[in-house]
Structures are given as structure tokens and as C-alpha cells.
Amino acid sequence: MTLDWSVIWSNYGLLLQGAVMTIVLAVLTMLIAIPGGLLLAALRLNRVAVLRTVATGFVEFFRATPLILQIYWAFYVLPATFGIGLSSFWTAVLALSMNVSSFNSETFRAGIISIRRGQTNAGLALGMSRLQTMRHIVLPQATLRVLPALASTWVSLFKDTSLVSTIAVADLSFVSLKLRAETYRILEVLTAMAVLYWAMGYPQAKLVEWLHRKLRVVE
């Protein structure tokens, strides 16, 4: 077996573009999924039972089915059955956002619930409205608590963006797999892809570990 790494150097621009697409997908999805998760969490903690049930069903469904299938569903079913023709990029963002919103909503809900009930009661007793208590008392404390879990979700999301290669969004894994098919330098290209993901993901994984240590709740 002879290795020829020149294929990587001569195509590094292409790989770089793929890496940028991976980052764009992850950032865009998280920007949508944070408000999305807050909305779902608010619905799940709502006093109206119907809203609670609908939101819970949505969240449980997205958490208990494979993301790759959700992406496929969005890509093939939306245009064919519902006549919604999104580009593959926006289809990917849509599927990723719905999925990550569901995971975020669980994180936010747990964060809000983790703030002791007495604090809300104290806020209310001081004459604050329910919304004010939420905004000034509960959410500021909950934010710190959800940060580690949110960061873990971010790392998962960053990796999960690779699944959009199955619907031909030109992210790092898509351009790598294409390059592999075109050049037949299978080992070199696939290894370069793994190394690039590793180089981007490893510092993130370390950062998350540090956040978990730093923000561990001691009550």
C-alpha cells in the first residue's frame, strides 16, 4: 500500500469550504434552537394542559427517533407530499433545528425546575408578577446551570451536522466523500476528514469538560 497525501494538499481549499459549511450549519441551527427550545420548555411548563401535551409529544418524538431519518423525512416527504420545496441546505437546517430544539427544551426545563420552588414563592410574595419572577429570579440562576448541558448539545450538534451529507449539503463529510469517490485515495481522504473533524471537535470536547467541572452545582 502506497500513500499519496498530495491529494489532500491539492484539494485543501475544497475541504476548507466543507469545514466552513459545517460550522455555518452548527451555528445557524443553534441560533434557531435556543429560542425554539425556550418556547418548547415554556409550553411544557404551561398551565394549559393541551399545550403541555402537544409540546411533550413533539419533544419525545424528536428525541426518540434517529436524526438521520428526520433529515430524510424532511428531504423526501416535504416536497413530495406537502409541496414544500426547500433547498437541501434549508431542509438540513430545518431538521437539525427541530431536533436540537427538542433536546434544548429538556435542558431548559430541567434548569428551570432545578431552581428551588421557594425562590419563586418568595418572588411572588414580594409582589412580583409570575413573568417578573421568571425573568429576574429564576432565569438568571437557571442560565448558569444549563450552560454545561447546552455546551454538550452543541458538541453533539457539531458532529451531527455530518448527517446532512446524505442529502447532498456540501459540508465537510460530503466534500470528503465526494473527493474519495473522485480520486480513489480512500485512506488518505477519509483519514484527512477524520483528522479535520478531530481538530475542530477536540478543543470543544475539552471546553465542555471544563465547563462541567467549573459550573458543577453544589447545593
Binding site: I68, K159, S173, M193, Y197, W198, Q204
Partner: protein
Amino acid sequence: MSLDFTPILEYWPFLLKALGVTLQLSVASVLCGMAIGLVLGVWRAYGGAVARWIIALYVDSVRAVPILVIIVWTYFALPLVIGVSIQPIGAGILALSFHLGAYAGEVVRAGLLSVRAGQLRAALALGMSRPQAIRVIVLPQALIRMLPPIGSLIVIAVKDSAIASVVAVPELMRQSQLLAGVTYRPFEIFTTTMLLYFVILYPIARGTDRLYRKLAHLGAS
């Protein structure tokens, strides 16, 4: 929009067989992954500095690389390195176990270290050897505490098994793609598949939670 579920009725043995492969893939990777995790977790919790450092590198690296990349690399690149070709299902099991093992290792380590250190010391003071104390005193309590994260790991393993479709393992995801292509009924087929996954995964997630609530007191130290 007109629904036509006849392809499902016509091809359900095909889908059922694919579901069998998904379960096979999931069970195999959970068992191998847990075995890897148990060894790594115990080693990282009680081993020397070098072992800890190497395992940490493995765990953090797996955390950094997408499972899709691991599966594709195992199927296409690994045979070039070792000079032996691998069947898709073998590559799937290998890659999924390698991936799951890292996460399982962290679960085992956290479980072991959550049992108060005094218990290990007490067991040693009673004359037990270290491996004995870990096996008889610490591990049983830790296992109960590990139940909820192990439940999540099983759910993740079943979901990740769908990604093996990219190397043409004939599991549920892959076979529904084929079927959707042949019958032109993507809505009916992908929706059915999604429900099948949900029907498997939701009880696992809820079941382990319930089991844990029943057993939690046994793990309290």
C-alpha cells in the same frame, strides 16, 4: 395528498427483516460497547496516570469525531490498513461499539467515583483485596446509579445504528430508503419507519427511568 399504505402491507416482511437487522446491530454494539466501557471505566477510575491519560485521549477523541465518519472510515479505510475486507454489518458493529465504548467508559467511571471513598477504604480495612472491594462493594452500587445514563446510551445506540445505512448495512433505515425509492411513497414508508423506531425507543427510555426509580434506594450510599 392521497395516502396509500399498500406498499407497507405488501412489503412488511421486508421491513420486519430490516428491523431485525437494526435490533441485531443495536444489541451487538450495546454489548460490545458496554464491555469496552466497563474495562475503560474501571481502569480510568483506579488505574495509573499513564492509563488514565491514554483513555482520556481515546474518550475525548471519540467525542470529537462524528459517528458517521467513524463508520465510513471503518468500512472503507480500515480494510486498506489491515488488508482484510470487512462486511458492512461487521464494520457497523465495530464502529458503533468503538464509539459507544468511549461514552460507556465515562458512565462507568462517574458511577464508580460517585460511591463514597470511605466504602472502598472500609472494605480494604476489612481485609478485602482492591479488585475484590471494587467488584463486591463499589461496582454493585455504582451499577444501579448508572442505570439512567445506560438507558440513554441504549437509546443512542439504536438511533446511531441508523447511520450504518450509509455503508449499506441492510437495516431499517437503509431498507426504507430502498423501498421509498422503488414505490415512490416516501411519506408512508418513512413515517412508518419513524413510528417503528419510536415504538422501540420510547419504552426503553421510559422503562429504564421507571426501573431506576424502583431500584434507586439500593444504590444510595
